[in-house]
Symmetry: C2
Subunit: 392 residues, 2 copies
């Protein structure tokens, strides 16, 4: 170790490029943040010798009305502020600091998620449900970013695709889950915040989900790819793009299905196709599954924005025939129509109304009501509950 | 537009979850940063009404000795500080702000690169050489993160692999470039900071490089994957891991080659294999190519850490026979041995000495001397110069 240490110092001592000096973890205080303790408490630390106030906002801190809640850190030795949480339940959490009114990320934690234009740090308190979000020593699927032609949109577009462990070396055909993001998201959302690769690897190895391909397309038809990944280069993303809910995505969705079924070893029939999505992706999944009856045997609506009235008011003609197409979907048959919604979700009432509508036409569904609101925590849970029900 | 705006407001008005309110781009000042102007100047803006001083550090600002240089922003209306650069040459740049002594990222730019444990914002001034780093409307290859078995290391490990446009639909066999990262890097380094997918897409469509597969493995044998992507979960990365240069990677490198050649449609012969790397990856490429003579017809050493004397002093036995194995590599023949080094690189002298050693044994090479130091700017340029020389 000593030898190695001297070697590193020698190597570092030779460095002159600014790229290197900027990147060096040496020289500053050796701060660990977050530090996740065995008892599921977490300590955060932040070096700010001249600051008057350092606060932290995070998903475990109760919100103050519409604003995120925060807790103050305490100033200690050498200008290092710190704060230790109570016991946190196993979960993936995001957080950020506010230093004298300035919202900043944690310089000691290089793990970040982008949500629309906002970047926050993340950490995992392991065990329990969060064990499904961790990278365990199990067989891993492959995650690819690939481009496909959409003749309907006249564009080459990017998607993310998970193929299960053993896909490449087997001759088996696999079922496919199409998994759709929410407003402001893109083909990076589910694989990042949704921990899809980890959830799938873990559920598959535990025998709780069938090995399946998971396709995560981009539902913003104005984009060819996620911000920073397409021809528009780096730009500041906005919450919603103009054509995202006007029906174009639904009308052209079979471009994606055709691409997948002609490029991957898949079972290309209704019994082996599932579609699910969160929020706007639930809206898309509801509409795509009724617009193409006989295509998907499994439908998952996670905190879905089931805004058929709004759609009609907007004059989006595609959505006008929703009741008759739902009846058609019902008559055509399917295996599972799964609705998950949190009781604090702003779409809770909307989902209750939708369920009543399904009742009124005699369309069967499973309705799973959970705690919590319109948050990734719920969408990850819904995915872990939905996947085991597929392709049985 | 008005309708859409009202719709978004309605939607937003309904939001209650903190995840949503946190992510909303509404409510704050609508700040654009960086703003890249047509004349290749760039304006940065930072909202900090209560700050006394806001500075920016970036790769275009001359360093102060070993420390990065910085420029002060000017405070303007509504607490927004700003600064406009002079004309910048086309390039990918990284930068960060310092607000009253606190180093922070740009909250209006969600595009970031991680380099070891440090995260900085990035932007591109387009055109010229930087056109190769941009995502253009050209056919795109596929980028996959895949896991392979390394019997030599007794581990399942992760790598990044680029397959060229048309790979999946063709029956052609392709040549392979193995592209190795530097110290502190991992299988994410070249695809992120190195812009490998963009460079390859662009060079291939322009006919300047042959369609090829590019394999970006992880050279830190103690890791199964990049920090945050492997079984160790999220942790603070350090500059160098203990076993990274002790020979284990070299001794087990053929595990990677065998995996690639049995899982991809490749030409599995010397004429269709290239190996190149930056800094420590140059050290690895030099050693792997001599350790397996007859395997690689093309070798690229980019700002290579050619530390054979240091290796011997460390007692790393693998490296003791370097001269005899180089002679063997020479006698065995190869098509290209390419060395690129910046005149300000701390390894410049080291590379000159290595070239002299090659001269002394009559081993041919190309020596490309550039401006600049040990920085990604040079490694991207070297890659764009090296790729067109391959597989001809």
């Amino acid at each position: 170790m000593r030898k190695q240490f001297f070697f590193v110092l020698t190597f570092v001592g030779l460095l002159s490029g600014s790229a290197f000096t900027q990147q060096m973890p040496f020289g500053g205080a050796d701060i660990k943040s977050p530090e996740i303790h065995a008892d599921q408490t977490v300590t955060f630390r932040f070096l700010a010798p001249d600051a008057k106030e350092v606060k932290i906002s995070g998903e475990w801190i109760p919100a103050k009305g519409l604003l995120p809640g925060s807790v103050a850190l305490t100033k200690g030795d050498k200008g290092i502020w710190s704060y230790t949480t109570g016991v946190l339940e196993p979960e993936l959490y995001s957080y950020s600091f506010t230093v004298d009114g300035l919202k900043v990320t944690d310089p000691n934690n290089p793990f970040l998620f982008r949500d629309v234009a906002t970047v926050t740090n993340v950490f995992i308190v392991g065990g329990g449900q969060a064990n499904l979000y961790e990278i365990n020593a199990v067989p891993h699927g492959t995650v690819s970013r690939r481009w496909y032609e959409s003749p309907g949109l006249g564009k080459t577009r990017r998607l993310t695709i998970y193929t299960p462990p053993g896909y490449e070396s087997s001759k088996q055909k696999f079922p496919v889950l199409y998994l759709l993001h929410g407003s402001g998201g893109d083909e990076e959302a589910w694989i990042a915040q949704g921990r899809v690769a980890q959830i799938a690897d873990n559920l598959i190895v535990q025998g709780k989900a069938k090995p399946m391909i998971i396709v995560m397309p981009n539902g913003n038809v104005d984009q060819d790819a996620a911000p920073g990944e397409g021809k528009d280069g780096f730009y500041k993303p906005t919450f919603m793009l103009p054509s995202t809910m006007n029906g174009q995505y639904i009308k052209t969705f079979m471009d994606i299905v055709k691409f997948v079924e002609s490029n991957y070893r898949v079972e290309d029939n209704m019994a082996n196709r599932a579609i699910a999505g969160l929020s706007m992706g639930g809206f898309h999944s509801m509409n795509i599954s009724r617009y193409y009856p006989g295509t998907f045997d499994y439908v998952g609506l996670f905190s879905a924005a089931l805004m058929s009235e709004t759609s009609k008011q907007r004059g989006w003609k595609l959505y006008e025939a929703d009741e008759s197409t739902l009846v058609q979907q019902k008559d055509n048959g399917y295996k599972l129509y799964w609705i998950g919604i949190g009781k604090e979700d702003f779409l809770y009432q909307n989902n209750l109304e939708y369920a009543a509508k399904l009742d009124s036409i005699g369309m069967k569904y499973e309705f799973v009501e959970t705690e919590g609101g319109h948050v990734w925590k719920n969408w990850r849970v819904y995915l872990t509950e939905f996947m085991p029900l597929l392709f049985n």
